[in-house]
Symmetry: C2
Subunit: 353 residues, 2 copies
Amino acid sequence: MQLAADLDTPAVTIDLSKLQKNIARAQRLVSEAGKLNRPHIKTHKIPDIAAMQVKAGATGITCQKLGEAEVFIDAGVTDDILITFNIVGAAKTRRLVDLARRVKRLAVVADNETVLQGLSEAARGSGVDLPVLIECDGGFGRNGVQTPDAALDLARLADRLPGLVFEGLAVYPNNALNTKPFFSRAIELFKGAGVPLPVLSGGGTAALLTLADYPMMTEHRAGTYAYNDVMTVESGAATWDDCAMHVRATVVSRPTEDRAIIDAGSKVLTREQYFVKGFGRIVEYPEAAIANLSEEHGMVDLSASPRKPEVGEVISIIPNHCCVVSNMVDEVYGLRNGAVEVVWPVAARGKVR
Amino acid sequence: MQLAADLDTPAVTIDLSKLQKNIARAQRLVSEAGKLNRPHIKTHKIPDIAAMQVKAGATGITCQKLGEAEVFIDAGVTDDILITFNIVGAAKTRRLVDLARRVKRLAVVADNETVLQGLSEAARGSGVDLPVLIECDGGFGRNGVQTPDAALDLARLADRLPGLVFEGLAVYPNNALNTKPFFSRAIELFKGAGVPLPVLSGGGTAALLTLADYPMMTEHRAGTYAYNDVMTVESGAATWDDCAMHVRATVVSRPTEDRAIIDAGSKVLTREQYFVKGFGRIVEYPEAAIANLSEEHGMVDLSASPRKPEVGEVISIIPNHCCVVSNMVDEVYGLRNGAVEVVWPVAARGKVR
């Protein structure tokens, strides 16, 4: 039996009890809201964890990239997958159609005509009909059509193009100001046009707490909730005790009274910050700040910490954003009662295509 | 023959002519300054490129982590390696001593007594004498002893401890304000104490242009110069034409007139910025700004760009920091005259321990 305390550092650990509790809680929230749960696997990138989510009641999974979907389909976790990224180019649309043949339902999003044309070209005559959701910009300012009218135009195009089946609309994340009015108007518009909307897909971990505000949505895609992190805690969607992922790191230097250097830098913690200060929360020294990162060094400011760690001491860090940390390591260690119960390869790490 | 234009995206490419030119130029600068060249392999993490650096005249290589040194020693690139990171804990010091047995010289840095004691415990009686450089904080505010006196104390300890051989001092990067006075005082102090300083090791790519200002240094460790990036160009150490690494990405959406979404996000480009604005320079659209990144999406602000790319168009991005991009991908494509000449696995990617 390997003890967590004996893991060489840096090491990414997952508290299995917290993981199971987080999965059960999200499933309960989505089920109670009367929606289907389609967790996003980008958070963990591990088929075994997706299998836990499906076992808990998830209707299928969400992947961001084709390469992720290939890993999860190879693992046989589910036969109902949604890829929430515009798939562009013949190399990818061919892979998509090959993949679609292997499962019951492989749906994709699209937010422009070029993407729809490319999907149709690959699917027509292949015997596969690709379900398509039109992605809407519900206030996030990333992908997505800008108006319900544009969504209707694309929906009609998808319905006309061979090899495609229009299924509904998708948005990420549910947004109090914009998403609800956008979807309310869209539903009216589509109803008037006689175009059915069987799927309305929303998302977000913070949005798990406001599902009742989006009665029109039929399914929910959240990812981060499985592990949680500084961002979900600071957004009010979790507590520190809900954080299942930790980065174990060793203090390798104490160059000054107020500075510690740890062996976890941006190659593990990443430089993701968004609205968060610093680069992670040190569980044992919550007043200390991870003030900066080099690739291998974490620079810890101890000036506000009454206690100071010594060289050789191992600390546990809750990262700012768990999903991006999963992508930095080849394996994570599943812990229960202080021991390593499972070592999971991060099977879909680095799948950028 | 695979054309660069046919590579599926995102793809990280290396212009082989530029790489060779960059390697030759740095070697010339270091040789002309009368120093030994010990390039840092963290930039590329590829044994074939280290072999090119050694062939051009490098005396050996620098690694940041033990796991990197293992990859390069396995590949047989050189038998003279310096690891510039405090090695802490029995699991690692054992690996270090095993590795040291396999090469002519495997040197390490240390900046505190605990590290020296641990190295000595592993080395004593093993038949291996580990060369040790004392790391000094030459103004960077990361690792390193704070004073020349502290360096002398540790040097004497290293000389007393069995299994260790004190060799000199190391700093990163050479810093106009602090490094020179620190090293000048240290040389005087060590001379007065009768402690020889055969190795004085400095570093940095920008510092390649000011080597003459550090006549005391005996060797130089630079990494980024092999590829160059937005940071080296903006610091004046390279031109856009010297940038050998590009991230090829496809425009997958044009949700608005002034917004393009590309299929390279933080999982390829990373969120490294330091003093740089945006997240990389688009070669074909230099007035466009990569304003933000999600994991898979790059959000491009086209408002200042007179021309706007269409969905499906492939663009080339010079990343802010090439070293961290190498760590995000499993392979890079070496290009010559628009064709793929070599596909290199990034052999030391993800070696965080």
